[in-house]
């Protein structure tokens, strides 16, 4: 596979980033210390390059009806200016990807899939669009996405916004978006994120990305903003109990296994949608395993694919795990047999031959104080 680079690659190199491959993209793993980056987002602000994520426009008279058919949620019911978390499933009910859908109007939606899945999602949408009066246009290659996350994110963006447009930032609710001018660039500003903190994601054309990045970094300096790589992004989202496609979500898992049943609009959507029959059957039968949060009682962390044990017998598998920088103890997400998923259940993780005690806890592990 050819390596892909975002429009901000040179900025990352200048900042001394270590790079990692993610979904075919060369992305910053960390700039200095991933722990320092993690704490900066919890206490001040972090600046992320998410330009590897996909952007697919769905436009046309039947845009809403089409997305209701192609995805598991009822996107036609989303209000203008609001975003909704959704899933795209295959006919067997397996998860092709999780994504966020932004509704600009009756006939205009933006779909944002994950990096590695963007071409697959764009192709699936195009295929499913055959019988609808819609246009599906993948603009991933020319669109950059920058996230500013953390308690100081709003203050930093206000510094870069004309007074007259301040309400477009301050009045923005969680999972809502506006189009405005920030640091001299027309952006789509969404109050969304993957860190468990308040924060924003800014869609911008590639040619403006480096300038926006530099101006946010400069304006944020006095607030303690630091550039953050994928290592801290992963530890932040794990603390916030958010799933990562490829770890918690896959073609082999149904939304009900992953605790995403409420995302599937079986009741509110009358018409058919891709995966409906299979998902109804899965819901009826009930999941055999469920995604749970595990809190380590010792110091050792469980890692992806480590077995989860009950009295020495395997009852599940870790999907993500590491020491929680904010909480100070190891946390893990794991699929566990349904009979061992009650909060407070004592389980072990097989740490390379040693059984280490963990306990089933409610998700998210970390919830910010509002």
């Amino acid at each position: 596979m050819t390596e892909k680079y975002t429009a901000l690659y040179e900025e990352h190199k200048k900042l001394g980033a270590s790079f990692t491959d993610f979904g075919g993209w060369q992305m910053p793993l960390k700039y200095s210390s991933e722990l320092a980056e993690h704490h900066a987002v919890r206490k001040a602000a972090g600046l992320f390059d998410l330009s590897h994520m996909g952007e697919v426009w769905v436009t046309g008279p039947e845009a809403g009806a089409f997305l209701d058919y192609a995805l598991v949620g009822k996107l036609s019911a989303v209000a203008d200016g609001k975003a909704k978390y959704s899933l795209i499933c295959n006919p067997d009910g397996g998860i092709i990807d999780d994504l966020i859908v932004y509704r600009f109007g009756d006939e205009k939606y933006l779909v944002v899939p994950n990096a590695g899945n963007a071409p697959i999602v764009a192709a699936a949408l195009a295929e499913r669009a055959a019988n609808f009066d819609v246009t599906v246009k993948d603009v991933s290659a020319e669109t950059s996405l920058v996230a500013v996350q953390g308690p100081q994110a709003e203050a930093i963006l206000l510094k870069l916004t004309d007074q007259a447009q301040h309400p477009l930032v301050t009045d923005l609710k969680y999972y809502a978006f506006n189009e405005l001018t920030i640091a001299g660039h027309d952006v789509i500003l969404a109050r969304t994120g993957y860190t468990g903190e308040d924060g924003f994601e800014l869609f911008i054309p590639n040619e403006a990305a480096a300038d926006l990045w530099a101006k946010v970094a400069e304006a944020g300096a006095e607030f303690g903003i630091v550039p953050c790589g994928l290592a801290s992004r992963d530890s932040l989202r794990l603390e916030a109990g958010m799933p990562l496609y490829g770890n918690e979500l896959s073609l082999e898992r149904s939304p009900f296994d992953a605790g995403l049943g409420p995302v599937v609009a079986l009741k509110s959507k009358e018409g058919d949608f891709v995966g409906r029959a299979a998902l109804e059957a899965v819901k009826e039968a009930g999941p055999k395993q469920k995604l749970v949060g595990l809190k380590g009682l010792g110091r050792r962390a469980g890692r992806g694919h480590y077995p989860v044990l009950k009295d020495g017998v395997q009852v599940g598998e870790v999907t993500s795990g590491q020491p929680s920088p904010t909480l100070g103890y190891p946390v893990a997400l794991a699929y566990v047999d349904i009979e061992h998923t009650e909060i407070g259940t004592a389980l072990d993780i097989d740490l390379r031959g040693k059984a280490e005690p963990f306990e089933v806890v409610a998700l998210p592990f970390y919830k910010r104080q509002k």
Binding site: K30, L35, S235, R299, R300, R303, Q322, P323, P325
Partner: protein, 127 residues
């Protein structure tokens, strides 16, 4: 670029060993390894009085992202471990050749060791 301390010898598994003096040898991990691991959050050291064998695992080092085996570059008896590094593994990142040392061994036999120059050339470190 990560520093390679000139006065030390190194194993291919990235442990360093200080061999001067008559007392037990001091062992740690190189700055090259510490940097590659990322922020170290846990270290499992051999027990004092136990015997370690050159080239064999004697513990684990866990960073935020991964777990790696710790290899002994020498054979002998462990005489002391660095409780400070066990309690605060960040010392291994901040001062890998000093306060972040790991354990001491009364050496009976050395494994194959590289000079600082050889190690730096093989691993892209800076002398």
């Amino acid at each position: 670029m990560a520093k390679v301390a000139a006065e030390l010898k190194y194993s291919v598994e990235h442990e360093w060993i200080s061999t001067d003096g008559d007392g037990p040898s001091v062992i740690g991990v190189s700055a090259v390894a510490a940097e590659a691991l990322g922020d170290i959050v846990y270290v499992d050291l051999p027990e004092v009085g136990s015997t370690v064998t050159a080239g064999e695992t004697c513990g684990e080092i866990e960073s935020t992202k991964s777990v790696s085996d710790l290899y002994s570059p020498v054979t002998g008896e462990v005489t002391e471990i660095n409780d400070d590094a066990a309690a605060d593994p960040a010392l291994i990142n901040s001062d890998p050749y000093g306060a972040g040392w790991l354990f001491k061994v009364s050496v009976t036999e050395e494994g194959p060791l590289l000079s600082a120059q050889e190690y730096a050339e093989a691993n892209g470190g800076e002398l």
